[in-house]
Symmetry: C2
Subunit: 236 residues, 2 copies
Amino acid sequence: MGGSSEIQQTEASEAGSLAICLVSGGMDSCVTAAIPRVENAGLAFLHVSYGQRTEDRERRAFADLAKHFGVEKRLNPSIEYLKSMGGSSLTDERIDVAEANLAARSIPSSYVPFRNSHLLAIATSWAEVIGASRIYIGAVAEDSSGYPDCRPEFYEAFQQVIDVGTKPDTNIEIVTPVINLRKSEIIKRGLELNAPLDLTWSCYQAQDLACGRCDSCALRLRAFAAAGVVDPIKYA
Amino acid sequence: MGGSSEIQQTEASEAGSLAICLVSGGMDSCVTAAIPRVENAGLAFLHVSYGQRTEDRERRAFADLAKHFGVEKRLNPSIEYLKSMGGSSLTDERIDVAEANLAARSIPSSYVPFRNSHLLAIATSWAEVIGASRIYIGAVAEDSSGYPDCRPEFYEAFQQVIDVGTKPDTNIEIVTPVINLRKSEIIKRGLELNAPLDLTWSCYQAQDLACGRCDSCALRLRAFAAAGVVDPIKYA
């Protein structure tokens, strides 16, 4: 457990408080969810359905993770209007999910416009109602797809919105514990924390066996290779 | 039309661009919706259902206003998960809508936690997909209920989130043309612009005749009295 001392150094380590963790069902959120447990916070899990192709599979991963972590307080709101807006290959069936091109510098077609703002708005409203003081989100900045709403400056800006947009006596902190880690480091951290990576789902387009070809599969496979670990999920 | 020159001085007066206007169906959004028309922007109307008590009546006001302004491009997403969270008298039937107390300094029970962030997140995603460059919202700061997410600093902070959380080539500006006006000034502005105040709905609890007793009715009636104009809608 060599990494746990580092984890306990994160700013939000007040014992006994309540934390909301955004859990998509992917690897990054699985490892992120293991961290507040180490920090002794009460946990609530939030999964948002936005009409993505693999939603059924993701929701199953969410349920499996919540069960694993023993989290009873769960919320699974739907913002499927994002699908009706379109503009992303993840929600619009007319746009193909592209084969991975991790060398590309442009924002991929899987970008769901401004999606993470919706996730944080929901988490903040819920936090204000249930009295949670922290929101954990497993965003990853550098070693990822280049989405603008996964970068530290986005979370810093949203923190300001929370600070001015909630009641004066409400204090909610966004915590992004893996944002500056490489994906391979997230895997290593997950192994240290006994995070159940076998229960996670990352593929953008398949729901039975991961395709191994989309951006998300490619990032995951590259990370497992770099970590020198075998990915416990099955690929087509 | 003495006020129109002032209106044309707002920062966002690029002719020919597309603007999204958030239209709750109330007086402030009705007057706000009249402004981009003066500024010659193409218009799209957005109304968000969040499980509020008077949603059916508000949606009718929205449809009436869209018809009046000749706006075809409309979106009416549902975020009824806010109702399931509770925490507000507007969405939680177990909390009574309080009689108005406009002298109170505390945040009233009608505050829907962090609601306006959800509205802006939806508007921004839609703007990014349809290529709109402005989001008009009829928030009112001082002469209102004291909600934290109606103050200028909230919109300034959210503007930062938009700037860093969307694609590099996306430019979307939040416009709050009535935020510093008194409610009576909004009425006068509306009359100058021929805004159809008779089509609007403000009451928090009734859907046939306005109650005249809730905060929202009290603010509206006080404003009409101060403007020296008769409110065109009917009260119980």
